[in-house]
């Protein structure tokens, strides 16, 4: 076991644990946000830069600070490491930059996006973003594409976290979609018209941090915060059968896998459980979902099991600088 201190809180973790997972062990406000890292997907992380932290002391043996901010999701903790997350103005400043850059090409169509209320980017922007955009150029746009009978792709909303390609690699042996092109115009695509249709493809929707991949059976039917999530299960030959039913009255609006407090699924479910059992009688209902990830919207909805809203992290930062840009249209 090694000792690591994050925002003045010390904890002990197994060797090889990343800073992010050490922070998750401590829990609460000091956990860095993560838009691309996903603990159950091998090879994820490092890309979105939302989880950058400052390493004040690399280890007990080498007490020098690391020269740059590091991605906490893929930097292993060292014995005696001292890390600053929300207690470092530099980190908050960088994070503010990351969210601003992620949003310059984002359509900001939350009012008509099914992901609203459970969107990592929405939460991230709420905590770390500016109130108005400073970007005045045309945004990158793509037409929505149906990729198969169940899923629609809105590339405009995508933040290129690569999670959906990892799901396809990990849960099927025939990946047909990937990241095409380069740089700013990179996109998720099949290149040729082809449905993504393997037995576990629906999990791509669950791992998507934003509204880029949406469930065609659920689109526009309801807002997630009007639904009651219930844990339920059934005997399934293909998967664990453990799901969350999203109910309004007795009607199942959608079925998803179970997400933990960081929005991660650890037991993926098959497409049959997700899309072929909309009858409540098919399920053994266990009770209300014991755990809800925190979100901007449900923070006011599910009193019992949600975390409190974080304090405004930026109170200590110089806000005047940002007001200088009032003049920019």
């Amino acid at each position: 076991m090694i000792r690591i201190t994050i925002d003045d809180i010390e904890t002990q973790v197994e060797e090889g644990t990343t800073i992010l997972n050490a922070a998750r062990k401590i829990g609460g406000k000091i956990v860095p946000p993560a838009l691309c890292y996903y603990s159950s997907l091998k090879g994820s992380g490092g890309k979105c830069r939302a989880c950058l932290v400052k390493v004040e002391q690399a280890s007990a043996r080498d007490p020098r600070p690391m020269p740059k901010l590091v991605a906490s999701c893929c930097t292993p903790a060292q014995d005696g490491m001292v890390v600053r997350n929300i207690t470092s103005p530099e980190v908050l400043e960088a994070r503010r930059g990351v969210v601003e850059l992620l949003l310059i090409n984002h359509p900001l169509d939350c009012p008509i996006c099914d992901q609203a209320g459970e969107c990592d980017l929405q939460n991230f922007a709420y905590e770390h973003g500016l109130e108005k955009t400073r970007y005045e150029f045309p945004r990158r746009t793509f037409d929505p594409i149906d990729i198969g009978p169940h899923i629609q792709l809105h590339m405009t909303r995508c933040i290129l976290c690569y999670r959906c390609t990892l799901v396809a690699d990990q849960l099927s042996n025939d990946r047909v979609h990937g990241i095409l092109w380069r740089g700013e115009v990179s996109e998720i695509s099949t290149y040729i018209q082809k449905a993504i249709d393997h037995e576990f493809s629906g999990n791509m929707i669950d791992v998507c941090p934003v509204g880029a991949l949406t469930d065609k059976h659920f689109r526009f039917r309801n807002r997630v915060w009007f639904l009651i999530p219930m844990d339920a299960h059934r005997n399934c030959a293909k998967c664990c059968g453990k799901v969350v039913l999203w109910l309004r009255g007795k009607e199942i609006y959608r079925v998803t896998a179970r997400k933990d407090e960081y929005g991660e699924v650890h037991e993926f479910i098959c497409n049959e459980c997700r899309w072929e059992h909309y009858n409540l009688n098919d399920w053994v209902v266990e009770g209300p979902r014991a755990f809800q990830p925190w979100s901007v919207i449900n923070a006011n909805k599910y009193h019992a099991n949600t975390k409190e809203l974080p304090h405004t992290l930026y109170s200590k930062l110089d806000n005047e600088r940002w007001n200088e840009f009032e003049g920019v249209n």
Partner: protein, 450 residues
């Protein structure tokens, strides 16, 4: 005084052919190393020489070699980075065209030092004729017994493969290069682990620039101490400088590190001075990624010392008043050039070359380009200039690989040293000398945003 370690034989006719190269004393370092030195002894000589990576970062080569994991017994690889794509840099191309056998000789000796039995040369795909030159040279060397099994009866085996890239600046970054060599998209890897531990095919790997490897034979033959006695301070040996821009004699020059910028720029032996009627305005001394220096800081440091072509002198003053030696891409601008235009041009380059993997670089480089385009075309405001500064700050240091920094630095340094020119583009864009001189081009050209 001009001292040539790399290009000494470059003028000899047909030196790219094996027979001529051998006749002129080629491959003797291989004989010396394989017959009378242990691999560790070669590493020690390179350490002693103080040779630093010539690709841009200037990291000590011997130290990099000593990080290579030899203990685990897994196969090791040496990869030569010949993906020369940094704007302003065209030295490796010259070296490979003229002296392909020098690179191969360097690869053999270095592979022996690293106990690697397979080496790759990753050449940018556009250099199609160089790939042919290298492949022919490798064939000649193999026929002559310098490659293959049990070279010179030493028990050491080596094969060299030339691998073409396909047009991606990012593949000059060593981990992106390895990804590309594995047949994937050139996305830089998250480090650690470093290639010395987990590199090509997951095996311990050293990636060295062409010029770095070409310097090794001389070191092996003459000793690390002899090499270290050339140059100045920690900048030992010689460096290829590719000079371009508004100078009389653009080209590739080998200089002893420590030569003054003033002499290099104005002496007839090198650049031969400015090409036309205009005086010196600025220099980008180490390839497009490094900070631009205005004339007075290019020739003298802030403390009044002559600015030298060395790692330390170039960096003197940090980013406030200094720059970096980088890859040795020496771009000279005369008074008629527009810094705003040039900064826009570089920003467009980085936008085009961003791999798109991490968000600050993917989104930020495009924003930089668009802001600079707006200012350059005369539609900018003073707020845009402040915003430009702010956006580059958001990218710098926050990305997976140094491309983000490389995109931010030219913008930051141009704003630092030439802010008045940006402001002039806001107030009186029509006064820009470059635009006026180039009006016949710009009048009917819509410069597209890629």
């Amino acid at each position: 005084m001009r001292r040539l370690l790399l290009l000494e034989k470059a003028h000899i006719e047909e030196i790219d052919r094996y027979d001529i190269y051998r006749r002129e004393g080629g491959y003797t370092s291989v004989e010396k190393a394989l017959k009378s030195m242990s691999p560790q002894e070669v590493v020690e000589e390179v350490k002693k020489s103080g040779l630093r990576g010539r690709g841009g970062a200037g990291f000590p080569t011997g130290l990099k070699w000593s990080f290579l994991d030899k203990k685990s017994g897994r196969p090791r690889y040496l990869v030569c980075n010949a993906d020369e794509s940094e704007p302003g840099t065209f030295k490796d191309r010259y070296l490979m065209e003229k002296l392909p056998h020098l690179l191969i000789e360097g690869l053999i000796v270095s592979s022996y030092a690293l106990e690697a039995n397979r080496a790759f040369i990753y050449v940018r795909g556009e250099f199609k004729w160089i790939i042919k030159i290298l492949e022919r040279a490798i064939e000649e060397a193999r026929t002559a017994g310098w490659l293959g099994k049990n070279i010179l009866g030493s028990g050491f085996d080596l094969d060299i493969v030339v691998h073409p890239g396909a047009g991606a600046y990012i593949c000059g970054e060593e981990t992106a290069l390895l990804e590309s060599l594995e047949g994937k998209r050139g996305l830089p890897r998250v480090k650690p682990p470093f290639p010395a531990v987990v590199g090509l095919y997951g095996m311990p790997t050293v990636v060295n620039n062409v010029e770095t490897l070409a310097a090794v034979p001389w070191i092996v033959l003459n000793g690390g101490d002899a090499y270290a006695s050339i140059g100045i301070g920690k900048s030992t040996g010689t460096k290829l400088i590719s000079a371009c821009g508004n100078i009389k004699k653009p080209g590739v020059y080998e200089v002893e590190l420590g030569l003054s910028v003033e002499e290099f720029l104005y002496s007839d032996e090198w650049c031969g001075g400015m090409e036309g009627e205009y005086g010196l305005k600025a220099i980008v001394p180490g390839g497009s990624s490094v900070p631009i220096l205005p004339a007075h800081l290019a020739l003298k440091t802030a403390s009044g010392q002559p600015r030298l072509l060395s790692y330390e002198s170039m960096a003197d003053g940090g980013f406030e008043t200094g720059s970096m030696l980088g890859s040795g891409g020496f771009i000279v601008y005369d008074e008629a050039q527009c810094i705003v235009r040039n900064t826009y041009n570089f920003a467009r380059f980085y936008h085009h070359e961003s791999c798109g993997q991490c968000s600050p670089c993917r989104e930020g480089t495009g924003w930089l380009e668009r802001l600079l385009h707006k200012i350059e075309e005369g539609h900018g405001t003073l707020h845009d200039i402040d915003l430009l500064w702010d956006v580059q700050k958001k990218i710098e240091g926050n990305t997976i690989c140094p491309l983000g920094d490389a995109a931010a630095w030219p913008v930051a340094s141009a704003l630092r040293h030439f802010r008045q020119e940006f402001e002039a583009h806001v107030h009186q864009p029509q006064q820009c000398l470059f635009r006026r001189r180039a009006s016949f081009v710009f009048a009917n050209a819509s410069v597209e945003i890629a």
